[in-house]
Amino acid sequence: MPTSSSGLHRRARSPWYNYLFTALGAVWLLIAFYPVLYMLMTSLRSQQGFLLGTPWLPPLHPILENYLTVLQAGFAHYFWNSVVVSVVTVVLVVGCSLLLAYVIVRTRNRVVNVVFSVFLVGLSLPIQAAIIPIYVLITKMGMYDKLIGLILPSVAFGLPLTVLILVNFVRDIPNELYESMGLDGAGEFTVLRHLVIPLAMPALVSVSIYDFIQVWNNFLFPLVLTQSSASRVVPLAITSFQGQYTMNVPVTMAVVVLSALPLILAYIFGRRYLLRGLLAGFGK
């Protein structure tokens, strides 16, 4: 196995244990990836092929019919709902967080410190702990079963981590840069637009990806706050298709594959960005 010469702690000649590591790595490859492969293979089977064929082998006659069935049953609409909810939520979360992060970093004030501490404590506040009053609140506001009713609480629960990551990043901007802009008499928004946003761009991209994935995959809010197919989002579409096609596993697997479409595409075309986004600020 050719190895890179730059790795100081790796030899050009592989010792015996490296083969063992590779073998164990291959075992994990099977465990981690095979279920996904199974999902993909099954989604390409006919119902009959699923019942009669060997489940662990690729289908003999792969078909795309299941995907067609799913699309004809309104999946595109659910997908669009998810896109709207996710994109609007991300824009609101990142926008609000950037403004707050800027103030937290640039202001020395007790109130601001308290606000930041509250957001820090809010970091590991489970959505589940607040879902009951949120349900009552959204119902009273007349937003039950509407996309806006999903967006508003999603924004609130996206804020803590986003604020933390952006504070971390905005703080790394050298003070001199602020001062030189201040001397030019630049206002807060000029500083934000011409200094903070350009320099914090990598963090803004990562955190947007992270927030998008959180909202895209969120299940509890839509489960509790929506009901009709008009406002159904992708995670609920999976369970409703599963309920509808109980006996038709290939159709369910097609929904599962489609549910991850934006992330699959992002992984194929921008793996580095997606992985960095998934890690958010944790890897720092």
């Binding site: 050719p2 190895t3 790795g7 100081l8 702690h9 790796r10 244990y17 590591f21 164990l24 790595g25 465990i31 981690a32 279920p35 996904v36 199974y38 609101l92 609000c96 403004l99 707050l100 970093v105 640039r106 020395r108 410190n113 606000v115 957001f119 820090l120 404590v121 809010g122 970091l123 590991s124 506040l125 959505i127 589940q128 702990a129 607040a130 879902i131 009951i132 009053p133 949120i134 349900y135 009552v136 508003l152 609480p153 924004v155 804020l159 803590p160 933390l164 703080r171 602020y178 802009m181 201040g182 895209w216 299940f219 995670p235 369970t239 599962v256 549910s259 991850a260 944790f282 890897g283």
Partner: protein
């Protein structure tokens, strides 16, 4: 540039603060009030004081849910931490094939808990699911094992599925951590003639201390939020063998329509979350950030 708080800055803080207050803080306080109500969520409500609290604890609901939550927390840590660490270190190696492995290792990250739950439910389907078919073909077991329907093993099986979902994320963390270990340390060990085991225990593991702390805290706090996967696979069953806190909260509040009892469980969940978050502030590097803040 000034560092005081002016009206413009207050305005800039306002959107985030209002969103958070309205949809996170106020609901939490409201949950405390709801926990004293006898209410089905729609009709008239009645104040019953601590009755929900005593009933949830006396009939064993809360104790059972808390116990299961702690169990799944411990199982999750045991299943996820050592494996993620080894995989992360493996991926940090510079051999080309390891990078290729990594591309596939991270694929589970692309799927939601619901997608993963539904897929594994089919894989584990008793009799003709993938796993039973495979076991049958090699002659192991009855080929009719009800993996998620057996109350003795359901929680352990769930913890394994959750591990399958989250190990890629934690491997990614460990890969990043391991890549930051200076090559010079390994070089020195090599000169001393250290074998890979001693190198791992005397260099890699101690150097990953902070990654281990971060990852462990995420696993522990994350354990409080496992809901989606359990909802789509076992719905807390069979019986109530997998009704951890969030599942129990959902069942009480939205299926049995007892807002009061559900709120009691929600508050227990919130307190557990805040206590764990204080642990985060205490032990992780977030504390450093706070101290930095004061020096701005």
């Amino acid at each position: 540039m000034q560092t005081g708080l002016n009206w413009k800055r207050v305005l800039m803080m306002l959107p985030a603060v209002l969103f958070f207050a309205f949809f996170a803080l106020i609901p939490l306080v409201t949950a405390v009030y709801y926990s004293g109500l006898s209410w089905n969520g729609i009709g008239p409500s009645q104040w019953v004081g601590v009755q929900n609290w005593t009933s949830v604890f006396q009939d064993g609901t809360a104790g059972h849910a808390i116990l299961l939550t702690v169990e799944i927390m411990v199982l999750s840590w045991i299943f996820q931490t050592p494996l993620s660490l080894l995989i992360g270190v493996f991926l940090a190696g510079e051999q080309k094939h390891r990078a290729v492995f990594g591309v596939f290792y991270f694929v589970p990250l692309l799927f939601s808990a619901v997608a993963i739950g539904v897929t594994w439910e089919n894989i584990l389907m008793p009799g003709y699911g993938l796993l039973d078919s495979l076991l049958q073909s090699v002659g192991i077991g009855s080929g009719e094992e009800n993996w998620l329907g057996n109350s003795r093993i359901a929680l352990v099986v769930l913890a394994m599925l959750i591990a399958w979902q989250f190990i890629p994320f934690h491997s990614l963390l460990y890969q990043g951590g391991a890549k930051q270990i200076p090559d010079s340390l390994y070089e020195a060990a090599k000169i001393d003639g250290a074998n890979p085991w001693t190198t791992f225990f005397s260099i890699t593991l101690p150097q990953l201390k902070y990654t281990i702390i971060t990852s462990s805290i995420l696993i522990l706090t994350g354990s409080l939020t496992y809901f989606d996967l359990i909802y789509v696979t076992t719905e807390g069953g069979p019986g109530n063998s997998t009704t951890i806190l969030p599942m129990d909260m959902y069942k009480e509040a939205f299926l049995d329509q007892s807002i009061g009892r559900g709120s009691v469980l929600a508050i227990i969940l919130a307190v557990a979350g805040v206590v764990l978050s204080l642990v985060i502030l205490r032990f992780s590097r977030f504390t450093q950030m706070e101290s930095q803040l004061e020096g701005v």
